[in-house]
């Protein structure tokens, strides 16, 4: 190799020669400073994960309303609580990445009382319902008729997320780095939510269902977390829009 004749020679088990020692001390200190500096740089420039959160500070919320299976269960609130107004359409989930589906199968159109913890992020909210009878039970009285309004077909651009992480179960709860996590929520039948770049009839967030009012279709999993534009029917359920997303019409937007 190059002419290293006069360079000091290091043998691992002997002490380093003088000239080399100061070089190595410099490298050692430099390495520690470099590592601390990079840690600071990367750590202090992480993106804002948004302001979604579990609202433990609200305390437990209990509301009554009409259960609708979109097929994802939502409650059209008829009797609100401190933080859930009457007239609101509230999305529901169970603990973790599990849905409420098996517990509400027979309750479509019934008057129910649900109780749990609220997650919210701006306009978007969801209730994580408690386990067993304490979480969900039939309420006394007849369920009022609830109407929904067909808003026609739309093409909208934005991102499919899982509604729960987005609403604050995780920060960050959106994006490509979080995609596998979102998919796992959707596999567990957590309500998917479309985050639209332009508000649709005043809503930035839309609950997503399959084209025929089914659960989120398998073929749409590859669209999760990507920035897409996609078509489908939009139906208003109170203050919540439900987007019947048609995966075949999806296009990646760059």
């Amino acid at each position: 190799m190059a002419d290293n004749k006069d360079k000091p020679f290091f043998v691992g088990y002997l002490t380093a020669p003088d000239g080399l020692r100061s070089f190595l001390i410099g490298i050692g200190i430099g390495l520690i400073l470099l590592m601390a500096g990079v840690g600071l740089g990367i750590g202090a420039t992480q993106d804002d994960p948004g302001n979604g959160a579990f609202r433990g500070d609200y305390g437990r919320q209990t509301v009554t309303g009409v259960m609708e299976l979109t097929p994802y269960p939502v409650v059209r609130v008829t009797q609100g609580s401190e933080h859930v107004p009457e007239g609101h359409t509230l999305m529901l989930s169970a603990g973790g990445k599990q849905s409420l589906m098996s517990r509400v199968r027979d309750l479509d159109g019934q008057l129910v009382t649900v109780s749990g913890t609220i997650l919210d992020r701006g306009e978007l909210d969801m209730m994580q319902v408690r386990g067993g009878q304490n979480g969900i039970s039939r309420a006394e009285g007849d369920a009022p008729e609830m109407d929904s309004e067909d808003l026609g077909r739309w093409r909208i651009a934005g991102e499919i997320c899982d509604g729960k992480c987005l609403a604050g179960a995780m920060r960050p709860g959106t994006g490509i780095a979080h995609k596998a996590c979102a998919n796992l929520c959707l596999i567990g039948d957590i309500p998917p939510v479309f985050v639209s770049t332009q508000p649709v009839e005043g809503s930035e967030f839309l609950l997503v269902v399959g084209p025929d009012g089914t659960i989120f279709p398998k073929s749409a999993y590859d669209l999760v977390a990507a920035y897409i534009s996609v078509e489908g029917k939009v139906v208003r359920h109170g203050d919540l829009l439900v987007f019947h997303l048609e995966p075949d019409t999806a296009e990646l937007v760059q």
Binding site: G12, G39, G43, A177, K179, A180
Partner: protein, 347 residues
């Protein structure tokens, strides 16, 4: 000096080396985990599991980049050689840090589901056909498996068991791991990133690692070991007076092996250039206390017979040589390892 199967051979320099490395890792993680949350002005904090996962992941990437930079740096400037000396401990530490990264991710993003975590890691995203939303976790997992295999086989026992050439080839997998990590980051977090620090740092670092390798390769080609020229059945290495006392000249033989011709007490001896430990270039080493000393980890050999002094048992091949009209000629047929050859007077 060489190794027996001793669990780990410790000496003060290894302690200092490991101490500096651990201090660097600790500084990185401490600053990232405990200092930066105070600096970030988010309305609500990033979940600590994700914050920690990022700290350990970024630390592992930086460590891997440093490890890979050491090789070419040592080729370009021998003062970096000591950093090679205990690089294996650095590698093992990187495997630990990367495992912690994967652990935080697995116990957060892939937890809370009725699907078991490992199944979830493999099954929840199968979008292999598309770059946007590609299951970048699989690339990280692949890299982690390589890092763990290399860490597990890092000990000298495996080096002997697999033999140096096979072991070295196995450990070249580190490059595959690095490429995989680069893809893991490019297809993952970089797709979301708004702030610029991470992308710029990442691209510059990966580019520097590649650049150093190309640079060292070119430099080595330019100043590479000369091909010995034929003189009948013997090969001419250099002029005898070109060799300094206690040093060697290296030449490439027709069979692709390298010979190192040393001058010791005014006489010449030729041995194989490849150290029995990890194929280190003996001819770039020196004679210390009458023994050829490898520049990489300091294994030693007698120059006359290529044997390590007792109690060690390493042996390398020797070569017959003669001096004719001031030129050093070597018989390209190597003697069996450990064969004594009388040193030749320069005349």
């Amino acid at each position: 000096m060489s190794v027996k199967y001793i669990p780990v051979q410790w000496n003060p320099n290894k302690w200092i080396y490991d101490g500096i490395m651990l201090a660097g890792v600790a500084a990185f993680l401490w600053v990232f985990i405990h200092v930066t949350p105070e600096i970030l002005s988010h309305e609500r904090p990033i979940n600590s599991q994700v914050h920690n996962a990022r700290a350990f992941g970024a630390c592992a990437f930086l460590m891997l980049s440093i490890i890979l930079a050491i090789g070419p740096l040592a080729k370009l400037d021998t003062r970096f050689m000591p950093l090679l000396y205990n690089r294996r401990h650095f590698g093992v530490m990187t495997a630990f840090v990367a495992t912690a990264h994967a652990g935080y991710i697995l116990n957060w993003y892939f937890a809370f589901s009725f699907v078991p975590k490992w199944d979830a890691l493999i099954l929840s995203n199968t979008n292999y056909g598309q770059l946007l939303g590609f299951p970048f976790e699989a690339l990280g997992a692949f890299a982690l498996v390589i890092l763990l295999i290399l860490a597990a086989t890092s000990h000298d026992f495996w080096l002997k068991f697999l033999t140096a050439p096979v072991w070295k080839r196995l450990h070249y997998l580190i490059y595959l791991a690095y490429v995989s990590v680069v893809a893991h980051i490019s297809l993952g977090i970089l797709q979301d990133q708004q702030s610029l620090f991470l992308p710029v740092f990442f691209i510059v670092t990966a580019f520097l690692v590649a650049l150093l390798h190309v640079w060292a390769y070119l430099a080595e080609r330019k100043t590479g070991d000369p091909l010995a020229s034929a003189e009948g059945d013997w090969m001419r290495v250099c002029q005898a007076d070109e060799i300094d006392e206690g040093r060697a000249r290296i030449a490439l033989l027709p069979d692709g092996k390298r010979v190192a011709v040393f001058k010791h007490e005014g006489k010449l001896s030729a041995i194989s250039n490849a150290c029995a430990h990890q194929n280190g270039p003996l001819g770039e080493g020196r004679i210390i206390d009458c023994l050829v000393t490898c520049p990489w980890h300091g294994f030693q050999y007698r120059v006359t017979d290529g044997q390590s002094p007792a109690p060690f048992t390493e042996k390398i091949p020797t070569y017959n040589l003669r001096v004719q009209d001031g030129a050093v000629l070597v018989d390209p047929k190597a003697n069996p390892p450990g064969t004594h050859v009388d040193p030749v007077e320069v005349a």
